[in-house]
Amino acid sequence: MYAPRVVTHFERFGLSDEQLRGMLHTMLMQRTLENRGFQLNRQGKIPFASASEGHEAVQAGAAMAFERGRDILVPYYRDLGLDLGIGLTPYEVLLSLFARAADHSGGRQFPHHYASKKLGRFTISSIIAAQTAHAVGAAYAIKLREERGRAVLTTFGDGATSEGEWHEAVNFAAIHKLPVVLLCENNEWAISTPQSKQMAVRDIYKKAAGYGIPGALVDGFDPIACYGAVRAAMQRARSGDGPTLVEAKCYRFLSHTTDDDDRTYRTREEVEERRKDDPVPKFERFLLENAILSSADLEDLRAQVLAEANDATDRAELMPYPLPSDLYAQVHAGPWEPWQ
């Protein structure tokens, strides 16, 4: 039997035990499904998978600050945990990995490029920072219609902040005090390029000062702190006080994608050193130590996540591919003509 230690006091920003366990569930599911993507790729079952290991805490925390049915999420492609956290199912994730017809993009897009009006989840491309302007445009629409209480959460990596489009979008959001939260998941690497070669500053959140908006720094390995920071920024946005740039410092433990090999640009020692801080086991320990979860509960939760992932994999794999004729659908409204 697991004997809980004395409960330590911690800032939980009003999160219930159930919500804390829910965040762990999202984190475990994200890790399991990302690993599943790599496994399926190595088995030759899918052509490609991407990796978000190391981003679980910031995404679970940010998702908890998102109000379903009200807010809009404009994420990037390394945001599986955010998608799961706002209600995407493991089955939808596997449909995307297997590029099946029932996938949100109809099997057209790379994995994790979902689009769901029901979830308030915008369609995105893989082009870095292209979505930042879309988030700002959506925030403008919310403000124009005076829909107080709604906000846009948009995310990107450290690499995106180098793009001119990112700068333009943040600047516009600041000028118009738009209800948008700009969450940077700084994992220190733009594929193979370290932050030191991307910018001459260490802290991305400080760039906020250049736009006249607040910037906030948060430990991206701490889901509760991330929840607190993103929630505060979302509340600020929802009450009409304008945008916030939040920087969550995290790390990418795996290669960029299944087509990348990070041994070519960083040492195993570096990665192993950072692994010691892995947010998933860390949060498990935290919940155990604070008696929010028993070891039996944790075993159950892990088993439940694995069963859900397996079930989703089995069901999605059986689903059909898109038809060749689907290539011609949704080019624009109405039937496709080669001269359109």
């Binding site: 369609t123 879309h134 445009g137 979008a169 600047n171």
Partner: protein
């Protein structure tokens, strides 16, 4: 007897202005964003007075940042507004290429129809105004390669009204190109009532039997003028104003070629890989044996841009006389 519906004579630039005004009046989801569209009322005064009437929330003076003018409009469109984005001159559109080609044109496709991008990007283009390298370009060929994007190139006030209304109504992104030399040069009667002209429908501006001339924009006017001159010489030229380059009215072109058996394409954009290349290929594929003469393309030269100095601009642009000369040669071929 049909009663003539009320109408007004206006220039091309007045037609753009009045159509935009009506759109803003009709639909409070419509917003205009761009550089100097608010207080200045656009560099051609197209939106003058709009900011006072519709407010700065709907007439948005943006920073000088074309990529985000389009990118923000994409986000607005996905969230239910009807943005009309303005690129001050077509020459400034290149920074927005990613947002137009990579984002707006693919929104519907990549989300399998879950999200759409109903937006208009308006921009003045074209030369003959001493606009030099950066205020004279034609950009249609850079965009007409892109499935999912519609490109409209109207030449008359009536077409501007009908096609701009159609573009604003369209559920997908439309690039709306306005030839700035025609802005104050071309004047015509425009019905007061609301109407649309289908995007992708050409206009046969003169019927004829001996040669088909396909053109658009400023040169739709000059080619018509040249064809009229040739009437005095008893030469019969059919003139087609394309009005849209994508979708392209292939039936109008093919039907005409099947009648005249000769095809001349005239456009201001340079020849290599231009719209004329696509029309030539289409006619060669579909109606080669209808042709009694090789297809000809009269286009501006393949140099980076027209020069500022008058002789350089004149050398670049095609005169009405040159058009007439080319038409004569083809009829007599």
């Amino acid at each position: 007897m049909a009663v003539a519906s009320p109408s007004k004579v206006m220039t091309n630039v007045e037609a753009v202005r009045s159509t935009l005004y009506d759109a803003l009046k009709r639909d409070d989801k419509a917003v205009i964003l761009g550089e100097d569209v608010g207080n200045r009322g656009n560099v051609f005064l197209i939106t003058k007075g709009f900011i006072e009437e519709f407010g700065p929330e709907r007439i948005i003076d943006t920073p000088i940042a074309e990529a985000s003018i389009v990118g923000i409009a994409v986000g607005m469109a996905m969230e239910g507004l009807r943005p009309i984005a303005e690129i001050q001159f077509a020459d400034f559109i290149y920074p927005a290429f990613n947002q137009i080609v990579g984002e707006a044109a693919k929104t519907r496709y990549r989300s399998n129809g879950e999200y759409t991008c109903p937006m208009v990007i308006r921009t003045p283009y074209g030369g003959g105004v001493r606009g030099a390298l950066s205020h004279s370009v034609s950009v249609e060929a850079l965009f007409y390669h892109v499935p999912g994007l519609k490109i409209v190139v109207p030449s008359t006030p009536r077409d501007i009204k009908g096609l701009l209304n159609a573009a604003i109504e369209d559920p997908d992104p439309v690039l709306f190109l306005e030839h700035k030399r025609t802005y104050r040069l071309i004047k015509d009667d425009v019905p007061d009532e609301y109407f649309t002209i289908p995007i992708g429908k050409a206009n046969i501006t003169q019927e004829g039997t001996q040669l088909t001339v396909v053109s658009y924009g400023l040169y739709a006017h000059q080619s018509l003028e040249a064809a009229r001159k040739l009437q005095d010489e008893n030469l019969s030229v059919e003139v087609i104003d394309l009005r849209s380059v994508r979708p392209m009215d292939r039936n109008a072109i093919l039907d005409s070629v099947r009648k005249t058996h000769k095809l001349l394409i005239i456009h201001e954009d340079n020849k290599f890989g231009g719209v004329g290349a696509e029309i030539s290929a289409m006619v060669a594929e579909e109606a080669l044996f209808e042709l009694d003469a090789p297809i000809r393309r009269l286009c501006c030269p393949d140099v980076p841009a027209m020069g500022y100095a008058l002789p350089l601009e004149e050398e670049y642009m095609i005169s009405t006389d040159r058009m007439a000369e080319e038409m004569r040669a083809m009829v007599r071929f």
